[in-house]
Symmetry: C2
Subunit: 216 residues, 2 copies
């Protein structure tokens, strides 16, 4: 059973999606049970860490046996709230935004970009089956059930866009523009900073004398 809301560490939270993806794949392959050391080889995470992570959600496994795959799929699916579909909006239908719309997390039925917005009139219309509206009509198109936005706008536009999104009720934002923005207390922003990732990767790769590494 799932534990009552205790305290799930941030590091663990970031690994849940990896676990979920792995056990889903196992289920599709017809594997019905899995041991922590075997799962470790698949996800490249130490088995001790896996067991500690899993135990923070309750007693999911059985000693001397392992974990029932369906138990894990159910548990993580519940945690990630897979069955209540997330209606995600996208702002900025440029190169990156278009790629995201075409892909649209198609492997994950719960994640769905349902509409997009742009200021450039040339971008309005339909892309990959998803409507693109004028950014000026943001408030008119949002429903109260929409909490989540992906941003692929230029850095310079970002503060104004975030401000408008917060006013429209969005409180979870994933953005590709690295400009730090002061946000409202209830808002969570995650930055994906591709340039920084590449630069720090190059730094570690150059600096490295010793052994190889997989960096997350």
């Amino acid at each position: 059973m799932l534990k009552a809301r205790e305290q799930v560490s941030k590091a663990t939270i970031r690994r849940i999606p990896l676990y979920y993806r792995a056990v889903q794949q196992l289920q599709q392959q017809g594997v019905s049970r899995i041991r922590s050391d075997k799962l470790s080889e698949i996800v490249h995470i130490p088995s001790a860490t896996i067991r500690r992570d899993f135990s923070s959600f309750g007693e999911l496994g059985k000693s001397g046996y392992g974990y029932e795959v369906t138990t894990l799929v159910d548990a993580f699916g519940k945690l990630l709230d897979v069955h209540s579909k997330e209606a995600i909006i996208l702002v900025g239908v440029g190169g990156l935004g278009t790629a995201l719309m075409q892909n649209n997390f198609r492997r994950n039925p719960d994640l769905n970009i349902t509409m997009a917005f742009d200021t450039d009139p040339a971008k309005l219309g339909v892309v990959a089956g998803i409507p693109v509206y004028s950014f000026a009509t943001l408030a008119a198109h949002l429903t109260p059930a929409m909490h989540t936005a992906i941003l692929a706008v230029p850095s310079a536009s970002q503060p104004a866009v975030i401000h408008a999104l917060e006013a429209a009720g969005i409180d979870a934002i994933l953005t590709f523009a690295p400009k730090p923005v002061a946000c409202a207390p209830q808002t969570t922003i995650r930055y994906i900073d591709l340039t920084s990732e590449l630069q720090s990767l190059l730094f570690t790769a150059h600096q490295k004398v010793g052994h190889g590494a997989i960096v997350r």
Copy 2:
């Protein structure tokens, strides 16, 4: 002066690009000196952390005065090896790959995608001024100076692609396909897992009762 290669923590390394971007911007704005507490407001990193990070590269600042902006720009530029241009190759000219080529880190003159590869004959040619070659001709086009690759291929193709890249002398890889791959010891792989980022963002946003957060 820059310290002899001591020990730079991984957490610090990930922040160098942020610092570099910030001080570059300050320089462009004509600001000639900056204090750690003022810089803190710009990059949203505590001033104590900033000073500790900076001090790991030597004594860059002056007490009772702050930091000379040009000193910082020089120091971080040297650290990130900004003046030796990195020739980066891209594999997988799909939606994401095309977006990366069009952008091509244009703000950073040192980062340059110089050629791309794909298996689909329809993708070959030139995109955004960058030649796209058949993936079968990878070895023929690479020069010994090329260490770095960005991957935007489907997860299923990834292991084979990484294997071929390693054989061709690539040892730093940034990839968007989340499938974990066992790599050679000298290779560094950084995964950008957009689906995981989004899912764990949703988890934290839902779980949150208290105050807002910026998550990196």
